[in-house]
Amino acid sequence: MKPAPFDYVRAGSVAEAVGLLAAHEGAKLLAGGQSLLPALNFRLSAPGLLVDIGRIADLRRIDVTATMLRIGAGCTHAMLLDAPEIAAHAPLIATALAHVAHPAIRSRGTIGGSLANADPAAELPACMLALDATIIAEGQAGARRIAAADFFTGLFETALEPGEILTAVEIPLVPGRRHGFAELARRHGDYALVGLAAAAEGEAVRLGFFAVGHAALRAPAAERALADGAAGIEAACAALAEDLPAHADPEISAPVRLHLARVLLRRVMKECLAP
């Protein structure tokens, strides 16, 4: 399985990359390549041009301000696993990344790539939902801020416009934020059968479910029930029937998926709501 032929150009800056995307229809961005290259090897994708943004230093920064943690889209999973800023301000991301694939993939795969790819079974989109993140995109019209809740729109679909590049995510700093994470995967590192990334700030809980449908999603009815704290867990489980689509796949049926989502919710909330 060798890819179909394509041209290759390395972009030195985001602006240059934006220009190249505009000038070449069917061009694709290459960052970590851990999702793109298998698709090219399988000939599922045959772009005429790859625009390599993997060396743009600006995209690999991690900055902390008074109010938020800003992660450049080009940061690899391995960088984030090791970064003290992540450990201090968004440990949910490090917890989730331990479940993402394997070390040799994590050394190349990027957070921007994962979010832009929007695989419904991926961990990071759900983490962004739980952390109430904002996604920064840059295009010919300039930069845009998109709330995570509005970003993941469908199966491998995001709110990015054609020609836009995801350049960073911003995560609000919340002292005392607790998190919980669980996923069920057939083998360590596999895509999840069902997963949950959760963050709790005071009485507010944000639930980011993944591998439950066509995209990562929040569970608003369940979240409302959890305003009652641990007492609301069973009501939240019941409410999941409302929040989650009835999604069947070759692995598990819709009722089983709902059951497993409830099992995860109980397990994660025990962790997350603990004083």
Binding site: L30, L37, L50, H102, A104, H188
Partner: protein, 157 residues
Amino acid sequence: MTAISLIVNGERVEAEVPARLHLADFLRERLGLTGTHLGCEHGVCGACTVRLDGAIVRGCLVLAVQAEGCVVETIEGVSDSGELADLQEAFWRRNALQCGYCTPGMMLAAADFLAHAPDPTDRAAIRAHLSGNYCRCTGYEAIVDAVEATARARRAA
């Protein structure tokens, strides 16, 4: 075709490559370094694991053009440098390899584990770190034994 210049196993290499040529094929077909193996070209089996600027990567999921200016180390390089000598000896002694096809990738992943793990004698941690390297012959236990033995010997040294 794109011109690239990189260091492979300590030697400077210059070549003209099609953009679509992945690093594993570049090493195998252009440089004759056939110790890096292809098992899937999906990035799943780990047989193509090499080191790029010190980090393990899947050779089938990196384009040769992306390795421009980088330092690449393959099994041949880390073997001849002696870096893996104790791990190789442990693998050999414990029969942690049978057909040998997964072995280069497995050993590079194991070396990565030994270099970075907080407790490299932890068998569950060994298994987790190697969980992206497929072996059909050994059933993994001998490999875990060999990595653990190497870790213990290094700790004792």
